[in-house]
């Protein structure tokens, strides 16, 4: 999962970054093309509103251009972009605090595919209904908790990287994730109880 994400090597991203810093538009476009899908996926997992996510991504890249003269050498371009998008989504969503989660409900699930770690699993039985419940539960979490889980678990960033992206210390990242898992745990427990009664 970690290695298949992009056929493009780190050098390419860094070269694009360098182009951007030198004020070359090819650099901006290259970075966009390289990360657009991943950024959209991440954004949409946080906020189920494609127009909103699109606005945020647009602004991230426009800012990138606006301030390209002040950009530093980036050690990890991907971390930088995810960080900017996380920041943007968090700030913008605070402004428009009303999301209509409920409207989407379970009907939304039908057109969406579930993503989990099954690709890597060998001989492990997954339970589809539990997965659907967990995915729905994840969406109902507060934004910051959701962000922590998305970044740590699905985007596979390290705790250190997530702490930098979210602008909070390591301990807070852990606490957020811990709370999130605590809420998700309920679904598994109720599932186990349900099975028990069936027998």
């Amino acid at each position: 999962m970690k290695y298949q994400e992009n056929p493009i090597s780190f050098n390419d991203r860094n070269e694009l970054w360098l182009l951007l810093r030198n004020g070359e538009r090819e650099g901006l476009e290259g970075l966009y093309r390289l990360f657009a899908h991943e950024l959209f996926k991440y954004g949409l997992a946080l906020v189920n509103d494609a127009d909103f996510v699109q606005d945020c991504i647009q602004e991230v890249f426009i800012d990138l251009w606006k301030y390209h003269q002040n950009l530093q050498k980036a050690d990890n371009v991907k971390v930088y972009l995810f960080r900017s998008l996380s920041h943007k989504i968090y700030r913008e969503s605070k402004k428009r605090s009303k999301w209509k989660w409920e409207e989407l409900g379970d009907e939304g699930t039908r057109q969406l595919s579930l993503e989990s770690k099954e690709g890597e699993l060998i001989g492990v039985q997954q339970e589809k209904s539990l997965q659907i419940k967990l995915a729905a539960g994840l969406e109902k979490l507060p934004l910051r908790q959701k962000q922590a889980i998305q970044l740590l678990y699905f985007e596979q960033f390290s705790y250190e990287e997530v702490s930098k992206m979210m602008g909070i210390n390591l301990r807070s990242v852990y606490t957020l994730a811990w709370k999130a898992i605590g809420s998700l745990k309920k679904y598994v427990v109720s599932m186990l109880l349900g099975l028990f009664f069936l027998i």
């Binding site: 901006l28 657009a36 996926k41 606006k66 980036a74 971390v79 595919s113 994840l138 898992i181």
Partner: protein, 369 residues
Amino acid sequence: MNTNFMCKRDYTTEDFVLDPEFQKWVLSPDKATKTYWEGYINENPGKQKDMLLARKLVVNMSRRARDAEEGRIEDTWNHIDQAVDKLQLEIQDKKVIPLDSSSTLRHFESRKSTGYNRSMQFYRLAGILLVAFSLSFLVNVFFPQPVPRIVEIPVVYEEHIAPPGVKSNLTLQDGSKVILNSGSSLRYIKNFESHQRVLELQGEAFFEVAKDESRPFRVKTGPVTTTALGTSFNIKAFENEPLEISLLTGLVEVDLDLEASWKRELEPGEGLQVDLDRDQVKEVAFNGDRVLAWTQKTIVFDHTPMPEIKRVLENWYGVKIRFSNQPKSDLELSGRFHDQTLKNVLEGLSYSARFDFRIEKDQVTLEFQ
């Protein structure tokens, strides 16, 4: 191995789920993780239930994955592209775009030396210019250039230095007010750039930023950049001391570029302390009165270590302080001095710190007892 089990002895379901090693064991076990977690269960048989639950969570953890359609991705890029076009135009309006005048002039120069007659020369040049203009016009119409050529306007820096013993009040061209503490300096591009106001600070200053949303106000102190739109804040950035940013009104954004960058917004009453040597950032609630005391002729020490006291007094009074023997390394002093002479300050401090002092012109010697 055993000590490792120890620290995980109190693990809850949540902790197991969040432990990368545990995830690895569940999702793609290898020999090492297998041995480790089997050893763990043997030592902590009571944890088996939590581990089962955690495993179920790790295995089934899912998200609804939505991919954006190609159309949207293209659409987003077009919006970005247009916005960048607009930005470029704004820059273009403000900078000089020559029609390659230097080469035309050089051309003219070389012709002149061959001794053609003057009026002939004029028509010739007019003709060349006309052709050049219309050509460039056509080129621009048919092959719009993505990045216009921009000639660098030579950058002139303005620098203010407040030497030790002097504080200075500045009003910048944009109307922002700065109080520069003694022993500090401020440098910026004259009249600022068109899209931002960047200042480099060494030492300490208090800023009251004039509102200008189109040009963010940025103060650079080494790898730390503080950005404001219309606020007042204090920055203290002396060498070998933690950097302090304190916000009084409005909102600022602090960008640290240590190994990778990090951003944090500050709200009034919040402060950040950055220890560049140790790569540490601390959030501190600050006392506005204390932070700004220096702008009101007041020195405040609050559990301040001796090296910082030395720096403050040297800058404040424009003297050199020498310790004839080393003070205890943990010596910290407190005190508040409003508009006092150096002698009075030292006298005040000497009661609690127990030192003798000698002032000879601008040389001060402290001897600790």
